[in-house]
């Protein structure tokens, strides 16, 4: 017998800002977030187009999560070593990287698996970032493993002092893995609590399996409660709310040096990956459309302005895609390179 789909609606996040209020962030930041969200979307659309026209083998990425991922990137303390934030990401984090200042051309390189791909040298899928200078540990395909590693960098940071924290992200389905429980346990050992911001972006899907058919927790964030953790479920489709909530959570983790579990409800706008077609899904909230409407309501951005931002990035990223076309593929003679770190590195 097929499991009956339970009609469990997503629990709405507590309203931090209401739509009728004047927006609680300054105009410059709002427009910056808007532009980064659009830039991210354009990048993802370009990656999908590359995949569909044979310029890449597989696409997976973060369209639909921009409203959450961009504020996250803006709030990260970027740098190398334990004084800065350690980032254990999953494969939908392009908006975070762009918000941190990353050049989008590198995502195109990884999509085309060129030798110039700075994350993996043509070895790994799109969205599988790695950047040591910013403490971005290699994104890997096995779901949830990053949650097992995050307490390790956080322990180094706790000992180091200062306000660097560890941030780990992943999806809702993956929380069924034991590594999620490991993260909760290891981050909250009595007397040894660790500065980890544990994030789950809940799009209510695995690949094709809905959250409601597999997990009964109304809020995933409640799983932290048993571990004496601060927790919150937030609206990840609203960049203003996401910014304010993440800021508060990060300030807590930075100063208290204790874990905080954030569940962000987000959309999945192009399906799971290229394996499921990568076509736009009309039924889900599009955070960019929604944000643009609000900015327009407040007189901060006109339709024309929004269109101009989109066109600017469409053009620039199309140019980048053309440039990447001629970049070299990795040399087959290099397959053994970096199996081990040499003594000289």
């Amino acid at each position: 017998m097929a499991p009956r789909e339970r009609k469990l609606k997503a629990v709405p996040a507590g309203p931090l800002v209401t739509h009728s209020d004047e927006l609680p962030l300054d105009k410059k930041l709002l427009l910056q977030m808007h532009e980064l969200m659009v830039k991210t979307r354009v990048l993802e659309e370009r990656l999908i187009a590359m995949y569909k026209s044979g310029h890449g083998y597989f696409w997976i990425g973060g369209p639909g999560e921009e409203a959450f991922n961009v504020p996250l990137g803006l709030l990260i303390k970027k740098g190398r070593g334990p004084a800065f934030d350690f980032l254990h990401f999953h494969y939908r984090q392009s908006g975070t990287l762009l918000a941190m200042g990353e050049d989008p051309i590198n995502s195109l390189r990884q999509m085309k698996n060129t030798a110039t791909d700075p994350y993996s040298g043509g070895r790994n899928f799109a969205g599988h970032f790695s950047k040591r200078d910013w403490n971005i540990v290699p994104v890997s395909s096995p779901i949830e493993v990053q949650y097992a590693m995050a307490p390790g960098t956080a322990l180094v940071q706790k000992r180091h002092g200062g306000d660097g924290i560890t941030i780990v992200t992943g999806g809702d389905a993956g929380t069924a893995e034991g590594d999620f429980a490991s993260c909760l346990i290891w981050s909250s050992r009595p007397g040894n609590e660790l500065p980890v911001l544990i994030i789950v972006t809940n799009n209510r899907w695995g690949i094709s399996t809905s959250y409601n058919t597999q997990q009964s927790a109304a809020r995933l964030s409640d799983r932290g409660v048993a571990f004496q953790m601060r927790t919150k479920t937030i609206d990840g489709n609203d960049p203003i709310s996401a910014y304010l909530e993440l800021k508060e959570a990060m300030e807590y983790v930075r100063t208290e040096r204790k874990p905080y579990l954030v569940e962000a409800n987000v959309s999945r706008l192009f399906g799971h990956s290229s394996a499921s077609g990568a076509n736009y899904v009309k039924e889900e909230v599009d955070c960019i459309t929604q944000f643009e409407e609000r900015l327009e309501e407040q007189g901060l951005l006109s339709k024309k302005d929004a269109q101009a931002v989109r066109e600017k990035w469409n053009e620039q990223i199309a140019d980048m895609a053309r440039a990447v076309k001629d970049e070299p593929q990795p040399d087959p003679a290099t397959i053994f390179d970096h199996t081990f770190a040499s003594e000289e590195t």
């Binding site: 070895r123 599988h128 790695s130 493993v145 097992a148 590693m149 322990l155 180094v156 290891w186 970096h338």
Partner: protein, 348 residues
Amino acid sequence: MANMAQAIRMALHYAEENLGVTDIFGEDVGAPLGGVFTAIQGLKTAWNTPLDERGIIGMAMGLAMGGARPVAEIQFCDYIYNTIDLLKLAGNTCWASIGQWNLPMVVMTPVGSGIRGSLYHSHSFDATATHIPGWKIVMPSNPLDAYGLMISACREKNPVMYLKPKALLRIKGEAPIPGEPGDDKQLSKMIDAPLGDRSKWRAQWPDLTAYAVPIGKARIARPGGQLTVVSYGRTLPLCVKAAETTGLDAEVIDLRSLWPYDWECIKESVKKTGRVLYVNEDTEVTNFGEHLVRRTVDELFYELMAPPRLLAGKFVPGIGLADALEMASVPQLGDISEAMQKLAAEAP
């Protein structure tokens, strides 16, 4: 002379003091126990973890990424299997990030039979470990090598799997660890935790040195010219004993490192003897020894007087508790002697 557990403990102490080891951790490795085989007693950076092997490996990886130098223990290798994909990840992190990230971490775990441990305290891990690229894998067969390999492991920039043959952990060495006192009772008094209340006990460490056994270097445990026997861990001393009792002029090589391994040493010996027997106790199907046999055939075929042979554990789902079952499942002295005699006598 120190036994292997004491040797490992002394090396870890040296590594905490001098090689930057920051964390020695695992289930029951901190005070008061110091590990179920006591190899971690009295160490200042040792701490107890939740009972969560994936968490332990993940913690080691995170610590290494953060700039610490961890030594993690999995209490028995029988319980490392649910961490395999994390071990793979540790092994591919440097490669996947084209050298951006390397993981200086050691995972140590007791392996093999010999304590009548039944299904889940008798497993070997060398066959599986050697299927995971990106790791260096070592396995000592005596206390001095145990010490020296741990020193090298703690200096590595890459993940090192340190396999502890549990049957040998209590066996005393024939050569002293540089710095250990000549009197075993005195050593025990200095570094073995007392029975009963240990809350006030502190180890008195001898003045140790950085004696290192390089990873990738085998040792000729017994020179000979008639046949070559290559082994490591629990079966190594049995191979030496078999050579002595059979009276065969066997050259016994202690591989010590499984990856990278000392092919030059094997090659030189086989060129001389024309006969080679590989011995280990992991299950024989897709066994590491099979790789060595294949390489021997590929590269040394015309040097051989007889087919290269492998004596390994039986391909059975587990090692049974009863004495007779364990003895029948993994190579014992008699099996090794017999295999050596057969190989020495083999003629076309």
